[in-house]
């Protein structure tokens, strides 16, 4: 009998000291009185003070690094080393550096100071590759568009439920506009007769890097999701095809995939009607990175509680409805760090397309240096320049991911 549910016993007597007479009278009064006598409220204490001033910080720091003579010595030694490196960098990069485009000055400063004039002289070659000189504004405009979209995507508004669809469509449209700008054709049609048409093999530098990386990210993500769903599916044929694909592609270096896409694929085609080399390479990178994406997504799928699937099934949601509305939103939220890792890897892997004669950022730098013996000695400056560009974009991608993570964690 004692398992009968009693009405939810109101027990404010535990928290508020003076027992309300009505409450106390409503059930076993002696019990409540007893509790009231036993209960002693502990007075609230003030929050411990957190010292945030600089002197206090320094004192704490000194406790860590100056406790033992050997530690103090190490600290001092490393500090000196750091100072030395900093001054070297400062001397080479700023104080003794040549900033104007002056080959003679660069020559006399060799070994002592950087020649940033090299970047000034060659930046159009590095940024836009072999694209016709007079038309390079189209490259600049394309990059500006992509940068603008990246900037919007970094912002906190872009992935709210209100703007998410708009953001995605804006990316699609940006992609099409960039394609039209760069080629002078719209999807192969000559609709912009004012602008000379530019063959894709002349595209290069930053626009090519952005097109290849953003394009393959956009294509590899849905493909990777499908592969991951296939690999976790209960249908044995689909499952084995996906496993085979993933394991095969992951076991092959990207360079060989690019070689096949660029040189072997046209040989295997029956006619000369092979797709453009840019498209072949883009697909090669996409097929390659989709395998990696698939495994990241599979990790996310496994992290979703099995009860979610059962709840969706009990509500009679179909397979695709369940994946689309229940499983994937949760799985993808788990794997944002892994996915962005992947994106950054793709971004930098695009530099491999140089070997099939597409001169993206790294390749274009090589072109710029190799074509001109006067400026060739200053390759370090050139590489630092493109390293800064790579870093900028990778950092932007990582900010997008942090922004997304933050959004998802807040709900």
């Amino acid at each position: 009998m004692n398992t009968l549910p009693s009405p939810p016993s109101p027990s404010p007597s535990l928290t508020s000291l003076p027992v309300h007479p009505k409450l106390a009278g409503s059930h076993e009064p002696c019990d409540d009185q007893e509790r009231a006598q036993v209960f002693q409220e502990i007075a609230a204490r003030s929050v411990p003070v957190e010292h945030k001033g600089l002197p206090e910080r320094l004192r704490q720091l000194s406790q860590f690094i100056l406790t033992q003579p050997i530690e103090a010595l190490l600290t001092l030694g490393l500090a000196l080393l750091a100072l030395q490196l900093l001054s070297l960098a400062l001397n080479w990069g700023v104080l003794h550096a040549v900033f104007q485009i002056d080959e003679g000055a660069c020559q006399s400063a060799r070994g002592e100071g950087a020649c940033w004039g090299m970047v000034g002289e060659k930046f159009r070659m590095i940024l836009w590759g072999r694209y016709p000189y007079a038309e390079q504004w189209r490259c600049a405009l394309s990059c500006a568009l992509a940068l603008g979209m990246l900037g919007w995507s970094v912002g906190s508004k872009a992935w709210t439920s209100k703007f998410r669809t708009i953001t995605l469509w804006a990316w699609v449209i940006t992609g099409l506009v960039i394609q039209a700008l760069m080629s002078g054709n719209f999807l192969g049609l000559r609709v912009l007769p004012l602008w000379p048409s530019v063959e894709t093999e002349l595209w290069g530098g930053l626009p090519l890097t952005l097109i290849l990386s953003l394009g393959s990210i956009a294509l590899a993500t849905p493909m990777g999701i499908l592969l991951a769903l296939g690999r976790t599916s209960e249908m044995p044929i689909i499952q084995s095809i996906c496993v085979l694909y993933i394991e095969l592609v992951r076991g092959v270096p990207l360079i060989s995939v690019l070689f096949m896409a660029s040189f072997m694929f046209p040989l295997l085609m029956p006619t000369l009607q092979t797709p453009d080399v840019l498209i072949r390479v883009l697909l090669g990178i996409t097929l390659f990175s989709a395998a990696y994406t698939a495994e990241v997504v599979r990790g996310g799928l496994q992290a979703v509680d099995k009860g979610q699937l059962e709840a969706a099934q009990s509500l009679n949601l179909g397979y695709w409805q369940t994946q689309r509305h229940v499983i994937l939103p949760q799985a993808l939220a788990h794997i944002i760090p892994g996915m962005v890792n992947n994106f950054i890897a793709i971004f930098k892997d695009t530099s491999l397309v140089t070997i099939v004669s597409l001169y993206e950022l790294t390749g274009a730098l090589g072109l710029a240096l190799n074509g001109d013996a006067n400026w060739r000695p200053y390759k370090l400056e050139g590489y630092l320049f493109i390293a800064a560009i790579y870093f900028f974009f990778c950092f932007a991608l990582s900010r997008v991911s942090q922004n997304l993570e933050h959004r998802l964690a807040n709900r």
């Binding site: 009998m1 009968l4 059962e310 709840a311 009679n316 949601l317």
Partner: protein, 249 residues
């Protein structure tokens, strides 16, 4: 569906194995429209497995299980037809954490029943009122207490306008002071005439709403009786042992 299909649920000699483990042994059970059947028993006795067979979350290997006129088996259409009319409430609530309470409730009616958004929301608010929680519609599940989450889960199942409600230990994951608010909702549901199949250890609840109480042990139905017989004059010694273990303080 003009005339009611009876029995709504019928197990005919159903057997189920997990590998070599015989989980359900020769289950025979009929549930008529409007009946409230409570299943109890020790853990691992197969009571959750039995209830999960009813909406095909588990398959069975032998016998026949007919729900709402459809024989469950390999036929995907039959499975879907059954799930359309069978709601389920889980021990761990299984609300969709990335959706608000309202979105949890409208997702399935919109996607699997093809209701318009406004119609689905209308139904959702009706059901939220029924479980006394309409003011929480825009919150995410993690912002609610366990009892509130379970009531949302009940409302979510009710939004599909089910003929049968399955409850798989709906109060076992709750803090003691939250159990009653969920049981109250379930009692109201029972009083409204819902057909219920419920796995629970809340014996007082069983006593007050059950048409029949079933004791399961080691995959078998040991005893099946109306509550007054089950609690006061159980036939099987296993039932007596089970009840006395429950009543021990």
């Amino acid at each position: 569906m003009t005339h009611p299909i009876d029995p709504l649920i019928e197990f005919k000699h159903v057997n189920k194995w997990y590998g070599a483990f015989h989980a359900l042994k020769d289950i025979n059970l009929k549930v008529q429209t409007g009946e409230r059947v409570i299943i109890c028993g020790p853990s691992g006795s197969g009571k959750s497995t039995l209830i999960r067979c009813v909406n095909a979350l588990e398959s069975y290997q032998e016998g026949e299980l007919v729900v709402n006129g459809h024989t469950l088996g390999d036929d995907l259409k039959a499975t879907q037809a059954v799930r359309q009319h069978v709601g389920m409430v889980f021990q761990q609530f299984n609300l969709f954490p990335h959706l608000t309470v309202l979105e949890n409730l409208t997702l399935a009616p919109e996607k699997s029943q093809g209701l318009s958004k406004s119609r689905a929301q209308e139904t959702a608010f009706e059901e939220l009122h029924r479980v006394h929680i309409a003011e929480q519609a825009d919150k995410y599940p993690a912002q609610l207490s366990g009892g509130q989450q379970q009531r949302v889960a009940i409302a979510r199942a009710l939004c599909m306008k089910p003929k049968i409600m399955l409850f798989d230990e709906p109060t076992s994951a709750l803090d003691p002071e939250m159990i009653q608010e969920v049981l109250d909702v379930m009692v109201e549901l029972a009083q409204a005439g819902m057909t219920m199949l419920c796995v629970t250890h809340e014996m007082a609840f069983a006593r007050s709403v059950a048409s029949r109480v079933i004791l399961m042990d080691q995959g078998q139905m040991i005893e099946e009786a109306p509550p007054e017989v089950f609690f006061n004059a159980p036939k099987h010694p296993r039932t007596q042992a089970f009840l006395s273990a429950l009543h021990r303080p």
